[in-house]
Symmetry: C2
């Protein structure tokens, strides 16, 4: 048999999904598995979406335009205007999830070998998309001790070479829940101008800002309109991850023209998902109020419970629905596998995402896990209890004292 | 602004979709445009699919497993067994359309710079996927004079270098409608074994074989099970192109393992499309009988009408729902644009796909167009009339005599 490609070999397994076979085995063995590994909320999809799907009138499920339904793009432009983001329908290419928007954007803007600076920990699949497109991720490390704030501008500047072509951020942040301040975004703007870089911003968690915080979009930054690319998605916003509908948004016409060629090759984004996405634009504000209240309660409960566990440190996220927790363990990959393979507490266990895959720097995150608070409060309490018990039993536990700091907000 | 990537610049525009802005303009100007450019059938999606969608019970539209619903994969395996193709559910990765299956397969099997032999004319977007993955397409030209039969094995062999890594075919063929015989596939099998190549076969038109012909799958070829990869899709089979659900099928476990990593990075194929795809497995045989009868009637009508036009030559396709026609024109790109921009017959015109984009050899196909017979017979008759009138008026018409052959089946 011929050998496979180098890219296939170097493609990372997703830390979010690579342990799925162990979880399937645990479930077959009768264990309840709390899935905190993946941002798959149990929150209901808005009723307007479900009603729309149940009343599909089409007799042919056709391709759409490669850039998406005109009517949906117009509706999205209006959605952005609600966030004081000035975007036309023509600035939007509807994609198959945020994933495809990232692939299209990276393929369009970066050559293989180009360097892209990404604050780590970052959404693990950025590593996969970088491998797919041959881009070199240059991490700048945000630290748990600093609550994952953007590292100082000097650190960014020290990483810039003649191969640096862009910066990628996620705001509100997956996996840290960090929310960039307006000042931090202004700082990035200056670097972008000084070094003529692209600034990609993954803003799929826009609605999920807590404690009165408001989200800022890079599309609002003046003077870098040609440099900014926003990645968006309906997945989390409307709890319809399976719709696979996202968007690439930019005012840079050349990027749109080129990205559309990749879009034409794959014909169109999903028609049924777009029908759902367009219906979702009519989601009432009360839906978001309820959902955000629920996430805040879940966050408060989970973060409190986690920080009560000896040796566990978990900054309180300001947005999205993830947290990175540092655990008193030797290796989170081993620990997360052990949780599924070896451990149970009253026939329950938890699936977590080892954080090493959310870093690019080797060795980073080996004591950390990403936790998605996407389950109801009872499940979260049970999961926290499981984690507490597991840390008592885990053979690779290290002394809590070796965690050299404790986090206080 | 920073410069865009080389890949973005070299990415071809889809010949199927690049003229869309001209078609939109023509329609705005009040013209009726017959869309023969794209394989978007007007055939109804099976009722079982529409009924299923109208009865979705889910309250959360969740991600699926990255390889697709287990139940759908099992159903697909059963579907293949109906064609005497012996496949397990585990041999299938559900993808976002056949497009994604091709991308995953090519990324997994081929390095940038690897050479892949493809009989041309081929589905135009293979050029796009080759650009995306950095693969070099090495065409072997099938000729209209031969009814687009597979070129002699000697021609394949003469193209093989130490960089040759695979062969890609489409069977039944888009854009030619050619159906490979068992003997032709056996010939390919020998080349694959002798040179240890991958054999990709795009079999999305499996059901559409006419005049009593039966389709043969490369999955039935013995001794090259580790080398064969089938690309499949529900798009054409059930006239639901917008579902964006396809499949990568192979018995090669290593390919499956590696391709799944690309699959995990993009999380999951569309959930709503998979619901539709799973429902479609219950499509009654009567549906296919009706649809195939309809396509045969359309084909017979269209091909007859085309060959009646002076200077037009169009072999009769044996499968799929496309034909390549040679026209007495200087340049099909210019002609197809002229049809939309300059021409109308009783306020009607046609959109065709220039065939140059379906070839890799420069200069090939410049007198040819791809025509999809996906519209009803009245529309096809009107479209043929338009073409006939257009060829009388087109300034770049060349003398029919310069077509150096006439085709007879």
């Amino acid at each position: 048999m011929p050998s496979l490609s180098d890219k296939a070999r170097s493609m990372p397994s997703s830390p979010i999904r690579k342990l799925v076979p162990y979880a399937e085995k645990a479930k077959k063995d009768g264990k309840t598995v709390y899935h905190l590994n993946i941002g798959q909320p149990d929150i209901h999809t808005p009723q307007v979406v479900l009603d729309r799907l149940r009343n599909i009138e089409r007799s042919v499920i056709e391709y759409s335009h490669s850039a998406g339904f005109d009517s949906y793009r117009a509706g999205l432009a209006e959605y952005y205007s609600g966030f004081n983001i000035n975007i036309d329908a023509e600035n939007i290419i509807v994609t198959t999830g945020g994933s495809e928007a990232l692939i299209f954007g990276m393929q369009t803007c970066f050559n293989p070998g180009d360097e892209v600076i990404i604050p780590e920990p970052f959404y693990a699949n950025y590593n996969g998309f970088a491998t797919t497109t041959g881009v070199k991720v240059v991490p700048v490390t945000a630290k748990i001790e600093d609550g994952f704030a953007l590292p100082p501008i000097s650190q960014f500047k020290s990483l810039i070479t003649d191969k640096t072509k862009g910066i990628v951020i996620c705001n509100p942040g997956n996996p840290t829940g960090y929310l960039y301040s307006k000042e931090e975004l202004e700082t990035l703007r200056e670097i972008v101008i000084e070094h003529d870089l692209f600034l990609f911003s993954d803003e799929v968690y826009r609605e999920f800002c807590y404690d009165g915080a408001v989200p800022h979009s890079v599309l609002q930054l003046e003077g870098i309109e040609e440099n900014t690319v926003v990645i968006d998605s309906v997945s989390k916003r409307y709890s319809m991850c399976g719709a696979r509908v996202g968007a690439l948004v930019t005012k840079n016409q050349e990027i749109l023209d080129m990205a559309l060629k990749f879009g034409q090759a794959r014909l169109s984004p999903p028609t049924l998902g777009q029908i759902a996405g367009e219906a979702a634009l009519n989601t009432p504000p009360s839906y978001f109020k309820e959902v955000i209240d629920e996430y805040v309660e879940r966050r408060n409960l989970l973060i409190d419970e986690l920080n009560k566990i000896p040796g566990v440190v978990c900054p309180k996220p300001k947005g999205a629905f993830y947290a990175i927790a540092k655990l008193p363990i030797d290796d989170s990959d081993a620990f997360c596998q052990w949780l599924l393979e070896e451990f149970d507490y009253e026939n329950q266990t938890i699936m977590l995402a080892p954080a090493s895959g959310f870093y690019s720097t080797p060795g980073c995150g080996i004591q950390e896990v990403r936790i998605a608070y996407v389950l109801n409060k009872t499940a979260l309490l049970n999961a926290a209890k499981c984690l507490s018990k597991a840390l008592e039993l885990y053979p690779g536990r290290i002394k809590a004292e070796s965690n050299e700091f404790t986090y206080s907000e």
